[in-house]
Subunit: 434 residues, 2 copies
């Protein structure tokens, strides 16, 4: 019986896995450069953890199931609820600031179709316990550093930055009251993913009595940061605090050396209800509207779970959009599972000695392989090249005659006879000299 | 509303994650030393993939669910069916030998109770496309190398080795016919996990007319390898081939330098129906009967999925038993998310310069952090120590006076004034000299 791969899920063959690991390594390296610690949570959670925050409507987007105890679970569609649960459970014991990252695997019950994955990975970075916009700047800077480390500069990727209280004041100026923000933010956030007609239809249904979709988009695109800040300053205490915070954020971004990658953008609002302050996204400068990353400041995630209030700021970055962008930008790296040494059998009576040498070299920390089949020497050299080995070691007549092995540097073609004992006792040094 | 972690699942806080990553790194390093390539598959598969091999009985052990298209899926409880599916799908295109490893996350619908996890990770290592027992020796050797690399020698861990055709011949000699093997192997395999009474009850129900459970265990424990091989030699072509293969395996284990870690054990039979040749397990030498790893040779996994026949050999090693063993053996490593540099603010008017330095050092590949709060210098030094920083760099009066920073080696206590420009252009060299 032939069984397919489940729709929307990925099989990662070694060549795919190398690319995936390259991305994961870059995410981890950037996180660690900034002093973040890695955490992980379970692949599924109690269903309530998701409905609590997002309402029952989210259930259709989840893979849900029961165990024999008839408890309801869902495979995680995002990491933030797990983060909130874990932090709430130890809120008083965790040293501040909490600087955590994770590279969780997650699933969404998308209708399977091209480019819509049901399973994906997402880099999550959060700082909790810090109100200072310095934390907002740090999480934005770690994203910029990740892009830089894989060869994407401020000319390739822009971080669009906004502030929920600021955009709220701006929207109020065109007649959208603060209590309508949640729905308005959700629609504006979906603008990139909807057709112009669909967006106009949805927006105009709700708000055309105050502002048409066309006027809204012109307003969001053309209103400058200075004008927005003026509006916010007039919007009471909260608005004035937001203006100060945005100014401070801008300064910190400059000081951390990532200001070039950031732009104020009134259209960046994010769709999730829990953001309360700064919101931001990463976008390709050219083409591709879809966000590469999105995040923001939230002030009471843990409170939802009966934990003490712990303010935080963080983002999620999916693997698929980043890899697609890197591919389109022609910046995919050449990756291979290379070897340090391929050991070549030039005299099969010495095969036991070859195996002993292989065992010894591997124990010394080198990556080593050899042919399981008896093959002509030329063919083994071909295999060594195919496996991207840096050195070949030939076990043959010189071993019988003088206990010597031939070591060949496969990059330079240079080769040397080496006493077997020296290679056994000091492999790395010997190889380094060939 | 307070929501718990789902029963039987693990929250990995940073200290847990460090240990988990330490194990994963050791698994990956050993795999790569032997020339294995990493692969991954989806977290859930079509339910059929599991019932096909194991029958409908397995469903109660799985977390199963449907999507809106009413297709049935299950979270993977093991990796081998995914491996078989992926290899079958590209059987003719994949270069041989196929040397693959994976570190998949998987779930089983265990009744939640102490020590019974519903979610775990398992190191999977397989060689496909090689009939030669050299492949069996290689997969055993990579497991031994992993144990060695984390400080566990042949005095700590033993690999028990057996051969299904050989044990089959031995069982035939006490009256258990080959067609009863599947059930007998399954029971013998569970022997470690059942109480003596439960095992006796189950065994005697089925086989006491031929051999009592007491006599069986004595027979399995006391019969020497040489005697088993004699029985197998008399068991026709297949028995003779098995004897030769076991001899060859033993020789290869010796040549690869891992013979000391291996012992013939007639009780090692493995419970899964698909093993056809060599079977093996890893066990602690002292205490702890539970297998740390189990595997064997299978000859037709891909055939089940309408692929061409691809013989293989491999094993799975769970994370929980290994970590528990390492903990019991007192060999848990001391792990910390250490930093290269902690930058200390000794003059808050210079904080913008401090941030610029932090950004620059991080971009040079160093792991760097600093306090988000304004704190006394002594407290910042304490934080630097708490974060396991190797160096502290103090930004203070010397910077204003002479554009100098103080670099302190926190291991040795040694400290030096350094020109800020030198640190900016050549951080690694400067730090190396302090």
């Amino acid at each position: 019986m032939k069984i397919q791969s489940p729709p929307g899920m990925r099989d990662l063959y070694p060549e795919d896995m190398r690319l995936q690991n390259w991305l994961f390594d870059a995410w981890r390296r950037a996180s660690r450069a900034f002093g973040f610690s890695e955490y992980e949570g379970p692949i599924f959670e109690f269903l309530d953890l998701y409905t609590l925050k997002s309402g029952a409507g989210i259930v259709s987007e989840l893979f849900t199931f029961q165990d024999r105890g008839e408890r309801h679970f869902a495979i995680r569609p995002e990491m933030t609820p797990t983060l909130a649960r874990m932090v709430a459970a130890r809120a008083n014991a965790l040293p501040r600031p909490i600087k955590w990252f994770s590279v969780p695997r997650m699933c969404r019950a998308e209708r399977p179709q091209r480019g819509r994955l049901r399973e994906f990975y997402q880099w999550n970075v959060d700082i909790l316990g810090v109100e200072d916009p310095l934390a907002d700047a740090e999480v934005i800077a770690v994203a910029v550093e990740f892009f830089r480390s894989i060869g994407l500069t401020s000319e390739d990727v822009v971080i669009t930055v906004n502030s929920r209280p600021v955009v709220s004041a701006a929207l109020a100026s065109i007649g959208i009251a603060p209590e309508e923000n949640e729905r308005a933010f959700e629609l504006i956030d979906r603008h990139d993913r909807l057709s112009a007609e669909d967006f106009a239809k949805l927006w105009d249904e709700a708000y055309s009595d105050r502002v048409s979709s066309t006027r809204l988009m012109t307003f969001l695109t053309d209103t400058r940061m200075s004008a927005c800040l003026e509006m916010a300053k007039c919007a009471g205490e909260e608005g004035r605090a937001a203006v100060e915070q945005l100014h401070a954020l801008w300064e910190r971004l400059h000081q951390l050396g990532v200001r070039d990658s950031c732009e104020f953008d009134l259209k960046t609002v994010r769709g999730l209800a829990y953001y309360t302050g700064t919101v931001f996204e990463a976008h390709a400068r050219k083409g591709g509207l879809r966000a590469l990353m999105g995040g923001g400041r939230y002030d009471d995630l843990t409170g939802l779970l009966d934990g003490p209030r712990v303010p935080g700021v963080g983002f999620g970055m999916g693997d698929a959009p980043v890899l697609e962008f890197v591919r389109d930008a022609g910046k995919l790296p050449q990756l291979a599972d290379d070897l340090d040494v391929y050991v070549i059998d030039a005299d099969h009576t010495l095969f036991p000695e070859l195996l002993a040498l292989v065992g010894l070299l591997r124990r010394s920390g080198l990556t080593v392989d050899f042919s399981y089949k008896r093959l002509p020497v030329a063919k083994q050299f071909k295999q060594a090249a195919g496996r991207h080995a840096r050195y070949a070691i030939v076990v043959g007549a010189e071993y019988t005659a003088r206990q010597e092995l031939t070591v060949k540097n496969l990059d330079t073609g240079h080769q040397l006879p080496v006493a077997a004992d020296r290679l056994r006792s000091d492999a790395r040094d010997v190889l380094g000299g060939v």
